[in-house]
Every structure is written in C-alpha cells, then in structure tokens.
C-alpha cells in the first residue's frame, strides 16, 4: 500500500477529535456562570464520567470514519497491483493463439506450448481478460474473452494436438478481429507455436494496428529429425482377370542424420503384408516398393508405416484401394469403311486411369440394347442410328450418359432429335484452298481442355483441318472450341443429367490430321472421361479437406460417419445446406455406413493423411512473422511481458481507492449520526 499524498496522513491526528468530542466538546459547548465552584472543585475529577467512554461502538465509528476520510485524501494505491497493471499498462485483452497443428506433436512441443499458455494465463492481472484460440489450418475461438483464469487453464488442459496443417494467417486474422472489438486499450496477441516455415507464406494479408502488439513463444526444437511417408503410389496390373497392386511408398528424411535400415511395413486390411528396410540420406527422399498383391475387392484398407521418431503421426500413411472399373464406350460409325474408327478405338485402348472398354458397331446394325450400361457413345461420322430414334438415345443421355457426335460427311441428324444436338449442322466447309484451317480458340475453363491450359501442355494449332461441318449453335449451347476462321469446332449441350458434345470435324485422317498429332490421345481421353462422368478413385485424402458425401454417393440416403477417433456423426441424406459435407479433421480411416446396415457389410472407407507439409519442421524466425504482421520488429514474449513504467499517479488513478474510502467514511458518519441521535434521545448527555 502506498500513498500519493502521504502528507495528508497527518490528518490521522484528527482521530483524537471524536475522543475529545466524547470527553470535552459537549462540556465546553456553553459556559454557565456559577456563583462559586468551591464544591465542584472538591469533587475528585477522576471519577467524573467524562473520562469514561461509554459508547465504544460510536467512538470506533467516528474514528474509523475519520481514518477512512484521511486515508482517502492521502490517495492510497496498491503497489503490487500497480506493478501488475504496469506489465500491460492497465487491463489487457489478450488473445492466446495456441498452435495445435500436427507438427506440435513433435517431442515435447505440445507440452511446452501448453505450459507457455498457462504461463500467460497466470501472468494475467485481475482486470485482464484473455481469449484462447486454437489453430491449425483454421482458427477457432476455443474460449471467449474471460478473466476467469481457471476456465482458461481448463481449456488449455483440455486442448489436444490435432492433425491439421499449420496456417498462421487465419489465426492472426481472427486475433486481429477479436482485439479490434475489444473495449480495452491494451491489446496483445501471444502466438505459441513451433513456427513452421510452411505455415507462413508471407502473402497473408494480416496487419495489426499500432495499438495491438504481438508476442511470440516458440517451442521449436533446434535440431529436429523427422522421417515421413508423404505419399504412396500404386502400380496396377491385370492378371488372370484380377487386378494386382504394387504399392510404392515414398520416404522423406527431414533430419540431419542418415537413417539406416529403417523398417517400412505395408499393412493391408490389418494384416502386415511385408516389411522392407530402407536407408535414407539426410534431407533426401527414397522409396520402397512392395511386392504386388491381388486386390480382393473394394474398400481395401492399407497402411505404410516407416520407423519411429519424435513425430510418429507422419510416419504412417493410410490409403484405401478399390478395383478400377473400365469405362465402357460404344463407337458407332457408318460401317461402310473399314477402320473408320481406328483412331478412336486405338486411342481409347491405351491407358489405365481409367481403362476404356470400347465396342465399335455400325449405325445400321446397332440395336437399342447397345446403349445399355454404356458410359458414353461416340457417333463417329455416321447418320443418326435408327436404334437411337424414338427418344432412346435422348433418354440415354438424360439418364446421365455422354454422347460425342463427330461430324463428317455422313453425319445426318433427324429433325425429331434436334433437341439432342448442340446446334444445327450445316454444309461442310472446305478449307483445302490456301492455308488449311486450325483450332484457333479453346475454352480452357471447360473440363475437357482444362488439362491443356498450362503452357506446353498440348499444341492444338499443329493440327490441320481441311474440312468441317458448319454448325449453328443455339444460344444456350456452350461453344468450347472454334476454328481459326471463327467457325464452331466444338459445342456442348447438357441434356438431363447427360452431356452432348459435337465435334465438327472428323477424328481420323479424312478431314484433319489431328489423329496423328500428340494432342489426339489426351483429347480423346478427356472427351471420353468428361462425357462418361469419370471421377478417379481417391485412395486417400488430406486432413482439412471437405467432402460432399451426398455427391459421392449419388443418393440422398442417411449416413453415419465414424471418425478415426470413434466419434459417430449422423448425416441426413435429404437435408438442405451443408448436411452432406464432411470435413476431414483427423488422420486415419473414416467409415461411412448406412443406418441399419449389417456389420458384415463392408463400409465405405476414407483414408485421411496428414498434410505432407506438416512433416517439414524447419522453423522460421518468429520476429520475421511479427515484423510482417505489425510492420516493425516487436519485442519477444519475455520482453513484451516486462513491466512498463507506470507513474504512481496513473496507478492511483486507475485503482481509485480513495473514492471507496471516502464513500465508506461518509457512510460511517451517516450511521454514526443516526445512532448517536437515537442514543442522545435516551440519555442526558453522551
């Protein structure tokens, strides 16, 4: 306890006033003339009652009131509180950003980080308040601004390391948002992390205002050694009607030490299949290929585990395998030429992702059942197949099938099926005179051409076009390619759930030489994939991804999702909004079941792995991040916590104890007045 104006304490001498009032004041209130005090003088004065204090309570009240008022004038304040306040220059609003990304699971990083968070909480003043934000790829306000240190520590104790990747941007933005709403003047952010370099790209648009400060607590270890399995690849081969898979695991040594004879184990459906030994140079990668195994069925769970180190999470890699189903494509041509569909069939015969199963038939002979169970149909320079008439082909498309119309001399389209063709075909246009035509415009935003978007990803201009069919597309049709003269080279129309693309020149060597150009094969594959709605089977996902399960299942039934930690999430199938979305926040295998399914039925499995970037533990300089956020170098956490100079006047003004003392003193005086008045009514004197 200190006093701003201790000189006023002299006023404590006024404590004698109530006593004097008790003893003397009332006697001297007026002077009474008396003939002689001869007898009064004889009475022994010691026995006179004025020496006695009869109402101790009243005396104490008066003395306390005087003491309180004098103390109020001397402006007291608590030195300890002043120091505590000086740490922040007053009440602070603190946002504790606690990194819970997967990399914090390295060694004792998480323990140290929580200790640091608890240290910050314990260092709070009584008026300070703090918000706990746990962050990885995203940031979440775990504990809203509160002064309750117990609750804050409880939240820190309950926090666990997650599987997410590190991103500082969202966390810092959230902190800035929280602090900008704070009514307190002192606003601080404490960032507790291992400061992975990969978490900060420098392009995050986070900027703290001047009044906000950021301090950092780094728990990064100086010499980290980390072995990771960042990916696996699968080699698929067909063998006697079955698919055989060769798993190749990539290994990455992020440490400075060479790792020798690291055991790498492949586990399939819970059974260890094979263990290989690998030696990996420091800061280098290696791979291990396991022996092929036969894929028995869908949803085969696999795992590759390599060695052990302080961060075991990234030593394991999960995947789910399923047999690859070929995409069935029917090619219908005129049948009047041999090898009319040679280029197309040969192109579609190549490749495994996916593999295409093609059947070539002539339009005259094709029957209505030929369209059944086809993913896509290619009408290759032929008339409209009679079997497709009567709405058969249209219904096929409407159900989700794909139709590629390769227009040539023989292509004709009945008026009754005009709604199926994207536009109206016109007469052939001859470009043999002079310079031949070429593809002048491609809509790279279209999925077919998206893969060619990047430079040197296919030169369509190398293909020469000598003839093409004029096409007058409808306004609703999407033109996805044009020739150099502006004529439509390809247009798309969506019919029902299916897609129809018309290609206005041939896909062989009759009207164009595109069939011999390098882009032919990927172009045909892209067209076939797009029209057949091919989606490659995903063997694993990365933590943080969001899946639309409803879209994957192509149905609207209810689902139950079991997370790797055993949590069950019910997802209604016919809901609105985000019901079908699932954020993959844990590493491991997610199971998607249908309610009521028997336990023997193998559930759909989703393998989820860490972001490979989390394995990169190299740390950045926290000051660099602070400088980027605040625009200037900021003291470290220790310096930031150092007491700032606060004047005694400021401390006293903030505490304002005098006001309470004065009020209490006046209140006591009021009480004393009431009591003494009541007593004085009963007694002759006090």
């Amino acid at each position: 306890m200190s006093f701003l104006t201790p000189a006023f304490l002299v006023g404590l001498g006024a404590l004698a006033v109530p006593i004097l009032i008790h003893l003397i004041q009332r006697e001297r209130k007026r002077v009474i003339e008396f003939p002689s005090l001869m007898f009064v003088r004889r009475i022994p004065y010691q026995s006179v009652r004025r020496r006695r204090i009869r109402h101790w309570f009243l005396l104490l009240l008066r003395a306390a009131a005087v003491a309180l008022i004098v103390a109020a004038f001397s402006r007291p304040f608590f030195q300890q509180q002043a120091k505590a306040s000086a740490v922040s220059g007053g009440a602070r609003d603190i946002v504790i950003l606690l990194d819970q990304s997967a990399s914090m699971g390295y060694g004792d990083h998480w323990t140290r980080a929580r200790d640091a968070a608890r240290g910050v909480i314990r260092g709070m003043g009584s008026n300070d308040r703090a918000t706990l934000v746990l962050f990885a790829k995203n940031a979440e306000e775990n504990m809203r601004a509160t002064s309750d240190r117990g609750r804050l520590e409880g939240a820190v104790n309950a926090a666990k390391v997650g599987s997410g990747a590190t991103r500082y941007g969202p966390a810092l933005k959230l902190a800035e948002s929280i602090l900008s709403r704070s009514p307190l003047k002192r606003r601080e952010t404490v960032l507790i992390s291992d400061f992975q370099k990969v978490g900060w790209t420098g392009s995050e648009e986070v900027r703290f205002p001047e009044e906000m400060t950021i301090s950092t607590v780094s728990v990064a270890s100086p010499n980290t050694s980390n072995l990771a399995v960042p990916s696996v690849t699968f080699g698929r081969t067909a063998f006697s009607g079955q698919e055989r898979i060769a798993v190749t695991a990539g290994l990455s040594n992020k440490g400075d030490q060479m790792l020798k004879d690291v055991p790498v184990t492949l586990t399939i459906d819970g059974h260890e299949i094979q263990t290989e030994r690998a030696t990996i140079a420091p800061h280098a990668s290696s791979s291990v290929t396991f022996t092929q195994f036969t894929l028995a069925g869908p949803n085969v769970r696999g795992n590759v585990r390599a060695g052990s180190d302080p961060m075991p999470a990234d030593n394991s890699f999960n995947f789910v395998l399923a047999p690859s189903d070929p995409v069935s494509v029917a090619i219908v041509d005129g049948g009047d030429r041999s090898d009319a569909s040679l280029f197309l069939s040969k192109a579609l015969a190549i490749g495994t992702t996916p593999s295409f199963h093609t059947d070539v038939s002539s339009s005259a002979r094709v029957g209505p059942t030929a369209f059944d169970k086809r993913a896509a149909i290619i009408l290759n320079d032929t008339m409209f197949p009679p079997a497709g008439g009567g709405g058969v082909l249209r219904k096929f498309v409407e159900r989700g099938g794909g139709l590629l119309v390769v227009a040539g001399d023989r292509t004709s389209w009945p008026q009754g099926e005009a709604a199926l063709l994207p536009g109206t075909l016109g007469a052939p246009v001859d470009r043999t005179g002079g310079r031949s035509g070429s593809l002048g415009f491609l809509d790279y935003s279209h999925p077919v051409f998206e893969v060619f978007k990047a430079p040197r990803s296919g030169d369509f201009s190398a293909a020469h076009v000598f003839r093409y069919r004029a096409l007058q597309p409808a306004p609703t049709d999407r033109i996805i390619a044009r020739f150099d003269d502006g004529a439509v080279a390809a247009a798309e129309r969506k019919v029902g759930q299916g897609r129809v693309i018309v290609w206005t020149t041939t896909l062989d060597d009759s009207w164009t030489d595109i069939g011999v150009k390098p882009i032919f094969l990927p172009l045909v594959h892209q067209l076939a994939r797009y029209l057949s709605h091919y989606e490659p089977a995903t063997s694993w996902f990365t933590v943080g991804q969001v899946l639309d399960l409803a879209a994957r299942a192509k149905d609207h039934t209810d689902r139950i999702v079991v997370t790797p930690s055993g949590e069950r999430i019910s997802q209604p199938g016919a809901g609105e909004g985000n019901e079908g979305l699932l954020e993959l926040s844990e590493q491991g295998i997610y199971e998607v079941r249908k309610p009521g399914a028997t336990t023997s039925a193998k559930p759909e499995s989703l393998a989820v792995n860490l972001d490979p970037a989390e394995s990169e533990l190299s740390a950045m300089d926290p000051a660099e991040l602070v400088a980027a956020v605040t625009g200037h170098a900021t003291p470290s956490a220790e310096q930031g916590a150092a007491p700032q100079e606060m004047t005694r006047e400021e401390a006293e003004r903030r505490q304002s104890l005098w006001w309470y003392l004065m009020m209490t003193g006046l209140l006591l005086l009021a009480v004393e007045t009431v009591i003494s008045n009541r007593l004085s009514r009963k007694e002759k004197f006090l």
Partner: protein, 302 residues
Amino acid sequence: MEQHAIPGARFVDPKVLSRIGNLELLARTVVEGFINGMHRAPYFGASIDFAEHRGYVAGDDIRRVDWRLFARTDRYYVKQYEADTNTNLSVLLDISRSMKFASKGIAKLDYGCYIGACLAYLAQRQRDRVGAITFDNDIVTHIPPSAKHFNVVLHTLDRARPERPGNLSVPLNKMAEHFKRRGILVLISDFYEEPEAILEAIKPLRFLGNDLIVFHVLDPAEIDFGYDEASSFEDLESGEQIPVVPESLAAEYRSMIRAHIDSLTTKFSEHRIDYTMVNTAEPLDRALFSYLSSRERLMRVR
C-alpha cells in the same frame, strides 16, 4: 394598620416583587401584608407592659413605687415593665460577584436587597434606627444606623452592584470597629467560605453583644444543581472555568451543599446566632419571621 397593605403579599413570588422597582414600596407592600396576616401582633404597640414587682432599693425612682401594693402590704415594691427600647438595625449586605447569580428568577443580590429593605422598613416602623453596610472583599458603603437613614439605606441597597469578589473576614473585622452600640446585625450573604472561616469572620460582630441574624441566600440552582448538559462552569468570583458533567456531579454537589448548610446551621446555633437559609425562589416571609423572632428576644429588655 395601613389600609393599602396587600393581604398575602408576603407570599408573593420574589419575581413579581422584582417588578415593583421601588424598594420602599416593595418593603411596605411586603411588611404590611405580613403584619396584617398575623393573628396577633404582640410585639408592637405595647410600649409599657407590666412585667413583675421587686423590692424597693435605695436609688430607685420613687415614681415607679406601686403605691397600691404598699397600701395592701405596707411594703415598697417597685413595678417592673417590659421595656420598649429603640435599637439599631444594620443590614450587612454581601455584594460580591457571586451574589449577582440568578438561575431563573431574581438575583441573590436583589433578593438580599429585598430582605434588607423589608427589615429596614420593619425596623423603621418600630422606630428603630436603621443603617446598612455593603461589602465584598472590603466595605463598599457604610450607612450608620439612624432613625433618619431609612431612605438612605434603601437608596444604598438599590444602588448596590456586584463588582468584586467577596471575602468575609476583612470587611467584617472592619465593621466590628464601627458598631459602638448594641444592636441587631442582619448579615446577608451566600457564604461561599468554609464554615470555620465564616464563624471566625463574624466573631468580631458579636463582641458588643450584637444580635446577629444571618441570612444565607441561595439560588435554587445552587441547591439543586439542576443542570442537564455538560458545560463549562465559570466561577463568578474568580472567573475560573471548569468543565462539568452535571449528571455525574449533581448528587455529590447536592450532598456537599447540604453538608455546608447543615454545618453552618449547627455552628451558628452553637454560637447562638440566628441562621436562616433562604431560597430566592421562595417568598420573603421566612426571612421576616426569622427577624421578628430575633427582635422579640431583643425586645425583652428590663
């Protein structure tokens, strides 16, 4: 008897008397009322009352021989009569500062003046010679007893002002030198001295066989000490102030003043001095009775 006398005036509250303003009128009012209220007035008018016979001795006035008795007994007897003598009345009034005290009604000095005036009036009617002496710590005024000094006495009493502290021994010693003839001395004071000192002081007054009547004038507040609030009490004599809590003092004070009065009563009676404590809140009759009793004794002179 005067017809204008007011019956019962002796019982008039001294406060009412104080409004009269004229001492003579006041004295007459009181005394006439006092006398009229008596059943008999044996002390006045009988100037020659037969007392007894005694044998003639040479030198006796033959005019006082009872010849009728000589005729029956053939012996000479002389008649003896109650003497109707004139005497001196001196009013000795203490005018020290303590006498100006008045709690509610009239001041002790005024009351003393009334007593003095009334007694002077009585004496004058009796054709006694009246004189007066006022004193504090010394003699202030001295009016020798004389049949013509009644008005002067009243004037002196009326003019008396308490200005100085009092003391009995010095002025009373001086007074004793002035009294050449036996008489009645009426001492009016509040006697704020030790009883022994008081007696010592008044001894000289009795040397000539003076008949001393003492009036101890006290205010009711001096007797009852009826104060409520703690206050500072100032001694009128010395000016000294003492903080006093009456509630705690009163009982003790009352017992002390009672003891003082009792002591004075005892000691005065032991010395055959008429002592009367008068309360200024009470009518004057007690004082007059006291005087008359004393005067009766003095009148029996043969």
